[in-house]
Amino acid sequence: MTSPTPAILPERGLADRLTALFWRHPRLLLAVLLTPPLLWLGVVYLGSLFALLLQSFYSIDEFSGMVNREFTLKTYAELFRAQNLDIIIRTLVMSAAVTIGCAIIAFPIAYYAARFARGKWKAIFYLGVMLPLWSSYLVKVYAWKLILAKEGIITWAADGVGLSMILNAILAIPGIGGNSLSTSPLGTFIVFVYVWLPYMILPMQAALERVPTSMLEASADLGASRAQTFRTVILPLAMPGVIAGSIFTFSLTMGDYIIPQIVGTSARFIGLAVYQLQGTAGNIPLAAAFAVVPIVIMLIYLTIAKRKGAFDAL
């Protein structure tokens, strides 16, 4: 008895020929897929990073203002001058504070979304987290300037409920306070936390989503309190997500030059320093050296995180 369908089906054209080609040479498809992005990454991305690095080893002639294309560490030494070191430390402290602030606010939101939100509520969560990203960054920052201003809604609300004492007490704290929220480091901090928060919530939520409920039950089953479960199971398992989020918040804060200009004291941050050095001052080598600082800090940060076992759960 012969069946009407053949054992081997005929080739249907180009799509089938390509499928056959890739089946015979599995590496070929990989090569085709990877070549364009690797070229982009290798040439455009790493290439420009390398060019930047190169610039930082040049120096500027103090009298002529011309770039001296000779290898020197002089420019890097300049970073350690009091006024430049000040910028670096201020940026570092702000980035760390913003990262911690984001992590603390993001955790309960991410935890709720990963553990409890289902169906419609999950959609609302994603919408709620992403919606602020759809409007212009500048609009948001200027909106915050108005909110935080002396005549703004926060001062008004604090007056209304009789909490202006507390607001004034906070503004009186040296180092973080100021004339008003919009001209204080605290204001800068608040705006940074606001704009980068989604970048912390999303990776955290993804990490928490991967922690099975039975893991938490096993912990409670073995006698752990909620706090112990959080410390010994949830946090370590969510750590890769927290680190991923902190890479965003940390490096975005370190590189930003707009928010500190609009909200806060006019004290400079790395981003602003780079902006001014490459523009008005025309000191490209120092600007490049400044730009290398966040890269080095991130590398140190990730090395420490790895040593501490932050990626053990990956």
Binding site: S214, E217, S219, D221, L222, S225, D312
Partner: protein, 335 residues
């Protein structure tokens, strides 16, 4: 003897009160201290929910649960000295095997050295000496299962709950683990509550077992009792795939006008002539240790177990069936 676990009219309903899913419905149950108790039933019959009611991860919507005489209605899981071997093992992926096993002691504040010593003891109990430094991801399924067991035993629980612990293992390993678990239980004297959907496993391991059907207990007793005298049609069929005979057929087989159960291995296949019961062979299933014949007789299908070595009739052949009248078990229960 004290009761390790007692259920008094316990229910756990899910969903809206108008159309509840009755996962557990009015269950009465007493598990004796030191016994190996099996909960047997098809998937979705409420076994896991019962286990979670004991460990405290579910709260009953009705009834009372007592553990060693104490009402646990208000006691959270971490304060119940009851430990669980989870179906997916739930080992902590970021800790090595030693820290996984020592976890229960760590959260109690036991110092590192004592913890590690105890963890090693537990690992040797489950025959995993020297595996302490590995991560769970570096272990086979059977080894993970043992780590989960060691981790659950480290706290010296009063009751150990096991949710289909052998379900993910292959047959050979499963049989070896069945023997080991049984031996471990009699050595430690801890009450084991063992959930399974495998009737062979329940019969061979348990001191007593409860057969679950749709959130209710269909029968509770020793394996021999349940096997020999199933109370309901469901139990007869689920435990050992018995022939469940409707009233008329029971009468034709020489019994009263009631539902009855007749084990396939109790039926002898004979020549067709001169016997009261004769039927046509409609199917033969080769089982290795014998064959299972389906015989159409009096309008019902009856299964008979033919031991290996006996001549196997052809399909369509007429055969006679004989049995000891005491093997016909009349069931009093409904359903």
């Amino acid at each position: 003897m004290t009761a390790a676990v007692e259920f008094l009219r316990v229910s756990r309903h899910f969903g809206p009160a108008s159309a509840p899913v009755k996962a557990v419905d009015g269950v009465d149950l007493t598990i004796a201290e030191g016994s190996f108790f099996a909960m047997l039933g098809p998937s979705g019959s409420g076994k896991t929910t019962c286990l979670r009611l004991i460990s405290g991860f579910e709260k009953p919507t009705g009834g009372t649960i007592r553990i060693f005489g104490q009402d646990v209605g208000d006691i959270p899981p971490n304060r119940r000295n009851v430990n669980t071997v989870f179906q997916d093992y739930a080992l902590f992926p970021h800790m090595n095997v030693r820290d996984n096993v020592g976890y229960g002691l760590m959260v109690k504040g036991v110092d590192r050295r004592t913890r590690d010593t105890r963890a090693e003891e537990m690992l040797s109990l489950v025959k995993l000496e020297g595996y302490g430094d590995r991560k769970p991801a570096q272990l086979s399924g059977g080894q993970r299962q043992r780590v989960a067991l060691a981790r659950a035993l480290v706290n010296e629980p009063k009751v150990l709950l096991l949710d289909e612990p052998l379900g993910a293992l292959d047959l050979k390993l499963r049989e070896a683990m069945q023997d080991e678990l049984k031996a471990l239980q009699s050595r430690l004297g801890i009450t084991f509550v063992f959930v399974t959907h495998d009737q062979g496993e329940a019969l061979s391991m348990a001191d007593s077992l409860a057969v679950f059907n749709e959130g209710k207990i269909a029968q509770i007793g020793t394996p021999a009792e349940v096997y020999a005298r199933p109370r309901t049609r469901f139990v007869a069929d689920f435990v050992g795939s018995s022939n469940v005979l409707p009233p008329e057929v029971t009468r034709a087989f020489g019994g009263p006008l009631k539902w009855s159960s007749l084990r396939p291995e109790m039926l002898r296949v004979t020549a067709a002539d001169g016997v009261a019961l004769a039927g046509t062979v409609t199917g033969i299933r080769y089982l290795g240790a014998g064959s299972r014949l389906s015989v159409a007789l009096n309008g019902t299908e009856v299964a008979a177990l033919l031991p290996a070595g006996q001549p196997v009739p052809e399909p369509g052949a007429t055969v006679g069936l004989a049995f000891d009248p005491s093997a016909l078990h009349v069931m009093e229960g409904e359903g």
